[in-house]
Structures are given as C-alpha cells and as structure tokens.
Symmetry: C2
C-alpha cells in the first residue's frame, strides 16, 4: 500500500481508563501504539544493532537532532541517504528537536526569541538552533516524525520562567509548522507548562489549535514527584485532540509506562533501559535487580524465568554478575537487551490487553508502584474544563 | 559417535610447505585446523556473544586459568556446570594455564621451583599457582584442552634466565602430566626456549618425549622481530611430533597466521582482533584500516566489499567512523566482529586450499607482508638435526 502521509488509527479504547491501542502510519511502516521507543541519540542505541532492536520488538527508534547537527552534521547523513540508510534501521524513526538539550545543556545555552544559541560541547563554537533550523536539520535527516523545537524549563525554576518558556514554545511551534517542508514527514508539537495545572491546560489547548500530526507532552519526568507528574499529564491530555497520538517524552520506568498508558499516552521514549543496563541494573516484575550485588554471584537462574529476551534465554544472573565485576562489555550489552525487551513487552502486553478489552490496572504488579504514588487517587478531572476550541 | 578421547586427524598436507589441514577431536566436537581461536580471558570474548562467535565460524574459544581462578573462582564455575555451561559456549574450549601471566604480571609474581606466587591484581592477596594447581583448576573449569603451566621469560632477559625458565618449564610439564585427572580433557605441553635456536630445538625435543595430546610453542611474539620468530618456530616444530597438533600461542596478525600455517602451525590464539577492534582498527586485505582517521568520515562503502561479516554486510565505514568519534560501544562491537571474522576466514581459506592441494604462499597479498620479513629466505633447516628420540 502506498504511503499517503502520516495518519493515526485508533483500533480500540479501554473502557475503564483512557488507554487506547492504535497504529501510527509512517513512511517506514506503522508504529503499534502504545509503543516504547528506544533512544539512539547519536544514531545508535548504546551497544545494540538495528537487527537486535527489531528482534526485541521495537517499532520506532529515536535519534537526536542537536547531537547529529553537531556531529556528523546533517549534510553528511543526507549524503549517505538519510538517517535510515546511515544507521541501517529500516523502521520508523523519530528525531527529537534539541529542546531537551536547552534544559540539559542550559549552562552552555542562551535562549532568545530567535532561537537557542549553544556553545558546542564538542568544539566550543557557538551555534544558533532556531525552530526553522531544527526543521531543516530534521528534513535533511529524513526522520519519519520530526519534533518542533521547544523550551523545556528546569523543574525548579520560577513561575515567570515557566510561563515565558511555555508561551515562547507556542510561538516556536507555529514557526516550526510554517517551516515544515519534508513531504511525508510527520511533525509533532510539544506541550509544556511546568507542573501548574492551569498553565498546562492552557498551553495544551493553544497547541491543539495547530495542525500537528501528533502532540508530545514535555517538561515532565525532569525531577518533579510523580504526584505532580500525573495531574500535569492529565491537564495536557485533557486539552489535546483525542484523534492524534500523544507522546510522553523521556518517560521509561516500568511503573510510569503503565500509568501513562492508563492515562492515554500512545508513545514513550527513554534512555533508562540502556543506561541502567550499562550500570548493571535489570528490570524485573519485582522491581530493579542490581546484577552487581554480592547475592547475584551464586544465582544460576536467568534475570526472569519467564522472560523471552536473548539474555534470559541463555545466561544466568551469576554469569552476568561475573561480567559486571570484570568490566566486560558483554554484560552491559546483555543487560541492555533484557531491559529494552522488558519495556517493549510491557507496552506490547498492555496493547494486547486493550485490544482484547482486558486492560486493567491490575496488570501492574504492586511491586512496580512508586512509593510516592497516591493509590486510588484516580485521574483528576478538575482541569478538563479548559477544552480545545 | 561417542567421544573416545582427544585425537588429531590429519586430512591433508601441503606439498610446497609444511602446512596441513586436520581435525582435533574434543569432547565438545572437532576443531577444524588450522584454526584461529578468539580469546575470552574472563569467560567472555570482549563484547561478543557465543552465538556471534559461532556464526563467525570460530570452532574453539580460549579462557584464562589465572583470571578465572582469581575471579569468580573455579568452584563457582564448576558449581554452574563448568565453563561451557557458565558462559554458554557449547563448542570446544581451551584454557591457558597462567604461564603467560608469569610474564605479563611479572612485577606481581615470584617464581620458584614449586610454582609462581602472584600478588593478586584484584585484592593484593598472595596466591601460589603450581603446575598441579593449574591442572586442578582446569579440571574444575572443564575445558577441552588444558595447558601445562609454563614460564614465559621476557624477550629481553639474559640467556641464563631463558635457560633456567626453559628447564623449569620442562620439569613443570612432567608434573602437569602426573597431575592430570580430568577424563577426556586433552593436555598440551608448551615448548619454550627463547630465540636461541639450539635451546629451542633441545627444549622441543625434550618435551616431545612426554605423552602430551598436543604441543604449544610459547615465548614467541613477545617483542622479538619476526626474523627471530620464524627460525625459533621452525626449531621448535622440527623437534615436535608431527602427528600431534602444534599451537603457536598469542599470534594473530593476519600475515603471521599465514606464515605460521606455512610453517606447520595448526592452532593460533590472539586478543588482537577484539583489542584492535575496540580501538577502531579493522583488518583488511590491504593492511589495517584506522576507522577514526578523518578520511573515513565520507566513506559510504563497508570495510571490505567482499567481506561476509555482519558488519560489512550492513554498515559503512563512514557510519563506523561516526560511532568511534562519538565513543559509541556499537562501533567497538562491529569492528571486533569484522576482525574476528577476518582471521577465522583467513585460516579457513588456508584450510580449504590445503585440502584442495592449492595452498601456496601467493594466497598472502604482498601488502600483508611485514617489512622485517626476509623475502624468499625459506625455512631454515639447520636445526632439524636435533630430532625427537
């Protein structure tokens, strides 16, 4: 079937929650939603090959506009046939815009209305990333989903800065859409607004008026408590169009994926599975397992008996412990494989449950719940009055 | 077919050289010789899985007695079902004895007639490795081929020390055989002797009188020029039994593998393919390629067009350059995969040529020849008078 442009197809909706299952169609095939997207900042998911990611069931991989813009430069990747050809990943790809780097590299970055001026962490040169430049770079990279450049304010900044960043992000969203020029490339806007529910709702409602192919919720999971995260997420989602995919940026803890799906999120990304994997921590249904801990030494069982990942199919915790103790790269790789598969399977199981009308919060083992989560608080509805108009 | 003990089967011999092709039968299957054996010091080949090693065509993998003795300890591996079960490699395995560590860790090691006392590089405790202990550890590890504990003297030590180490190695060889107690485990002796041809010949002839299942040539490729290596190798081989496998330890440069095969070597091991791979250097038939060099940045071609490795089948040199510039683990892994496959294929092609009576020194591209090699010098015969008796 010829690709006729990005489109979101909702296949089933949960009755007991806002969860839904669907397909987001891209030029490189559909993304089954809800989906967890592994992060390949530098056009490579740390230590893993595209074939492995495919066999783990990942539909879509992320890369980062800011990092690739600096090195190797988008011209080189375009010359190689685009990001897909360069890194040999043939499925859907999403490129983050560089907005998160305005936060993470804020001590090397100055933001004005025109854009963000970065002092490169590689060679100290100054480079201006504008909303238009971010769209240009993403068009050259040829990702399937481009993100509008946003400003992600620090969690602990004052209300004035949150408000200013949120309003500027909205103006940048309009400029991003005006600059759009890669046919077939979906463009997503990013809703900011800090943790103030009124601003969250207002920003989402304003963004919802723009013809984006999907909407991301940014500025969450940046240090705030989960009791602040979920109401802010709800305030955004309440005001975003239900017929477009919702992408909760930077969230990837198992308990958070489940909670996000329940609250209507379709897409997630996070470096957590590979970052934790490299430090010797493996996800399990009973919570994180530290493979370096002395007790792991004598364990002949895999990380999880029931896990279908290539690591659990073959290697014991005792062997993984030995690899981490010896600084062997293989350990980092095997733990990363397990962790990515764990998250992909978690969202995949949720998707199957939604499709089978069996989605239920009991899918989440109680051991995965965060301690700061208010059990039974339900989804706050108080901000849904600010509807998209 | 039931395994009836280690046995070497010679299938073909070259007429123009000493090269031969065969099978060394072990409890975990045959090793096709000549063979290149990748090194997994800590029961893991740096960054690669057993499945990958198998798909690269490696028949036998090495592990290190000294390192595994210190960590995790042979009892733990025995408890896990032996080295094969622990690291999930089901093919033949060879364990080095710890003799090379007497050289590489010589500043932490004191050698007496009883054995070598190491100050552990992990926890500073003192531990005595005797020939008997090395056999015990290897029996517990359950490798298919155990090596007798030897003393590998530094390249630049005086003649007195070479002579003393060589004589002690012979006495330790006898003690190793007397201590042998793992049924079905092959035991190889190691011929030392420095670069003096008379001592080399004498040591090999003395070792040849002992009923080892195979014979290694040690103490070469430790710093000496290749013009010294090859005569010393010949002096050893001239005095070792032709019906037993010959193993040239620690040699793995492409040009050296070829030269070794021509001179009658059956087995090789080396950390070179993974060590070079991790630093961004790839073997090619035109010599080593530095993937970090600026010219690699714009190369759309694979490392070698004709290479059947998973890296060359999929990735460009430009992408690999990008990975190394960004410190991405995937680059190290992809270069290591290529390098191991390059060496395995090199010996595999040599084997096919020997079996097809087509083995010829012209198989070696002139670009692989070392500059210090004396072209056309042929194999010196002057020491062959010291025959095994």
């Amino acid at each position: 079937m010829a690709f006729s442009g990005p489109a979101f197809e909702i296949l089933a909706e949960s009755t007991g929650s806002r969860a839904r299952a669907g397909l987001f169609h891209t030029a490189h095939g559909p993304i089954r939603t809800p989906a967890f997207m592994p992060v390949g900042t530098n056009a490579a998911v740390r230590g893993l090959t595209p074939s492995e990611l495919e066999s783990l069931g990942a539909d879509c991989v992320l890369a980062n506009t800011y990092h690739l813009w600096l090195r190797p430069g988008e011209e080189l990747i375009q010359r190689a046939g685009g990001l897909h050809a360069f890194m040999r990943w043939n499925g859907p790809m999403l490129t983050d815009s560089g907005g998160f780097q305005i936060l993470s590299l804020r001590h090397f970055c100055h933001v004005e209305e025109a854009g963000a001026t970065f002092r490169s962490h590689l060679d100290e040169t100054e480079r201006l990333l504008t909303p238009e430049a971010a769209m240009d770079v993403q068009a050259a990279l040829g990702s399937d989903i481009a993100m509008a450049l946003d400003i992600c304010p620090p969690y602990d900044c004052g209300l004035v800065e949150v408000e200013r960043s949120t309003q500027r992000t909205l103006r940048w969203a309009e400029r991003s859409l005006a600059a759009r020029h890669a046919p077939g490339q979906a463009v997503f806007g990013i809703a900011q607004g800090g943790t103030g529910l009124a601003l969250r709702a207002e920003a989402a409602a304003a963004l919802a008026r723009l013809p984006f192919d999907g909407f991301a919720i940014g500025g969450l999971s940046v240090g705030e408590r989960r009791t602040e995260t979920w109401p802010a997420l709800d305030a955004s989602i309440d005001n975003l169009p239900a017929d477009r995919p919702r992408y909760l940026m930077g969230v990837g803890a198992p308990e958070d994926l489940f909670e996000g799906i329940r609250r209507g999120v379709d897409l997630f990304d996070c470096v957590l599975p590979t970052r934790l994997g490299r430090t010797g921590v493996a996800f399990t249904s009973h919570g994180p397992l530290d493979l370096r801990r002395p007790a792991a030494r004598l364990t002949d069982e895999p990380i999880e008996e029931c896990c279908d990942c290539p690591t659990c199919q073959r290697f014991s915790v005792g062997y993984l412990h030995h690899l981490f103790r010896g600084g062997e790269e293989l350990g980092m790789r095997l733990a990363s494989l397990h962790n990515v598969r764990f998250l992909v399977r978690l969202v995949c199981n949720a998707r199957e449950a939604i499709l089978g009308a069996e989605f239920d919060s009991e899918l989440l083992p109680s051991s995965l719940r965060r301690e700061d989560e208010e059990e039974g608080a339900g989804r706050p509805r108080q901000v849904s009055a600010v509807a998209a108009t």
